[in-house]
């Protein structure tokens, strides 16, 4: 059994031309946990993910995996320390085959070619893409492209995985499938997951804890049922949705 790792974000901030997109956000996550990152549109969720993976440069704050200061590393080193992501708008390599897509995830962190191919095949089969291995990624359905992106992320054998709206564009049935795929993952893969999602049903069923952002600031953190009843959250986010219904 591998020992647990910890992903820590301390006081992370980022401004765009004076607008504070992410304002002093701190959070912590262990392998084996799923943390839901929620908030209204424009509350800074995707910016936070971009900062955590080094895609955007932070203004201040710290990002650590155990005691590795990944916030100070070039973006391409981050996966080596166990952090990978998926995208709200799918960013698979469309002209590469499914196998090659998944392989890049493994090759990127220095896995040997043969081993990477084996791992990629195993993951694609596990996610139900086993019969599409040789197809070019652009020929896949939208749902399969989402799954392929997750397979590519898992191929890096991450300790932590950031999923940016993995259910966006999926129908209810496909979202349920995604839920049942993701639910056991923290334990089967020894991975900690941070998931950004608007689908509250998915979030409530999947997450151990929730972290709520509004205007770039943390307004609540805790168990789903507690957060759900937090008056500030209700006002900022759930309330508006409830009001519409």
């Amino acid at each position: 059994m591998e020992s647990k790792s910890t992903f820590t974000v301390k006081g992370l901030s980022k401004s765009f031309a004076g607008l504070k997109a992410v304002d002093d956000v701190s959070l912590q996550l262990e392998t084996g946990e799923i943390l839901g990152l929620i908030g209204p549109n424009g509350s800074g969720k995707t910016t936070l993910i971009n900062l955590m993976t080094g895609m955007l440069e932070k203004d201040s704050g710290q990002i650590l995996i155990d005691n590795h200061n990944i916030g100070e590393m070039p973006a391409y080193r981050v996966p080596f320390y166990g952090l990978v992501r998926t995208y709200q708008t799918i960013r698979i390599f469309k002209n590469l085959s499914c196998l090659e897509n998944a392989m890049i995830g493994a090759l990127g962190v220095g896995t040997k070619h043969r081993e990477a191919a084996q791992l990629a095949v195993a993951l694609l089969e596990e996610l139900g893409l086993g019969d599409k291995i040789e197809l070019s990624a652009q020929s896949l359905t939208f749902r399969d492209q989402r799954l392929l992106e997750i397979a590519r992320a898992l191929a890096a054998k991450p300790k932590f995985m950031l999923l940016d709206e993995p259910a966006a564009g999926l129908n209810e049935e496909e979202t349920d499938e995604l839920l049942s795929l993701l639910k056991p993952m923290p334990h089967s893969k020894q991975v900690g997951i941070i998931i950004v999602e608007h689908d509250m049903r998915l979030i409530m069923n999947l997450c151990d804890r929730l972290h709520v952002l509004n205007y770039g600031r943390t307004i609540a953190e805790g168990k789903p049922e507690d957060v759900r009843n937090n008056p500030e959250v209700v006002k900022a986010y759930l309330g508006s949705a409830a009001h519409e219904q």
Partner: protein, 300 residues
């Protein structure tokens, strides 16, 4: 049209097309990875050409060694120009990179003019290059067959590398979406260096056959192959490696058809017709024959 003329036409198209394919491939390798239209690419060919000239004139090295060193010179100028000139500007903007490539091009041209000679120098060509071979009743210099063979070998090796090696898969991923590949752990510097090295290698091979055809090297010699490369790439597709190869052959085909069909009074305007065809491509099919992996970057 009888069989011999047809066969001669095929050999001409294939040999010319092979050379053009290598030229445009060298451009597209760099463009694919870092979206840079490298105007200094022609000067990579010139550098290799001068190395072939110096080694051929002032040493008695055997031909294979001369060629190998000529190609290595192309690799070296590709690698070092990226390291010294392009890398510092990479994080700035594509425009800065483009202007840098003009600068590299002009600096190298002026160095050749001041350091060597503004006049053209005769490059010794191995005798077997110009050996006339008779093939199915058609007489053609051996170099025409050599360039076809060399291109087949090079393309095969490049395809194998791109398809089956870690570097190749990473490069294809990076050429499609650089940022995403980087976030998967693919190191940017390595990918870009590799692209410039391959580009320089192709320039070196091109230099051997180009200087054998023209028989000389001069400071501005890079201009013509660069232009040919651009045209082939416009025809074939800027975003596709196979497209650039196809573009090279299509260019050669069109150019040879024009040579055969234009009346002699119009023959001197062949390039004008060629450019008209390129303009037609830009208007009607701006993405080229093979679309490749071009996609708009979208954020959000």
């Amino acid at each position: 049209m009888n069989a011999e003329i047809l066969f001669e036409f095929v050999i001409n198209v294939l040999s010319m097309g092979s050379l053009y394919a290598l030229i445009s491939l060298g451009l597209v390798f760099v463009f694919g990875i870092c979206q840079l239209v490298n105007y200094a690419y022609g000067e990579y060919i010139t550098v290799s050409g001068y190395v072939l000239y110096f080694l051929g004139v002032f040493t008695n090295l055997p031909w294979p060694v001369v060629f190998l060193l000529g190609i290595l010179a192309g690799v070296a100028i590709g690698f070092f120009s990226e390291l010294v000139a392009f890398r510092p500007f990479r994080e700035r903007s594509l425009d800065a990179l483009l202007v840098t490539s003009f600068a590299v091009s002009i600096i190298l041209q002026r160095l050749f003019q001041l350091g060597i000679s503004p006049r053209s120098k005769a490059v010794p060509v191995p005798a077997f290059f110009n050996l006339n071979i008779q093939l199915f009743g058609v007489i053609t210099p051996l170099r025409n067959l050599l360039i076809i063979g060399t291109t087949i070998v090079l393309l095969t090796v490049l395809v194998l590398i791109m398809k089956y090696t870690t570097l190749g898969i990473a490069m294809r991923g990076a050429s499609e979406n650089f940022v995403t590949a980087r976030l998967m752990g693919v190191p940017a510097n390595l990918m870009i260096s590799a692209a410039f090295i391959i580009s320089g290698l192709l320039a070196g091979v091109v230099a051997i056959f180009w200087s054998a055809r023209t028989g000389s090297v001069e400071p501005m010699m890079g201009g013509t192959p660069l232009l040919i490369g651009f045209i082939a790439v416009v025809i074939g597709g800027m975003h596709s490696l196979p497209g650039s190869v196809l573009g090279g052959y299509v260019y050669a085909f069109i150019s040879n058809v024009l040579s055969l069909t234009l009346p002699s009074s119009l023959l001197s305007f062949r390039d004008a017709f060629m450019f008209a065809i390129v303009i037609a491509f830009l208007v009607l099919k701006p993405e080229g024959l093979l679309r490749g992996n071009y996609q708009e970057e979208r954020v959000g």
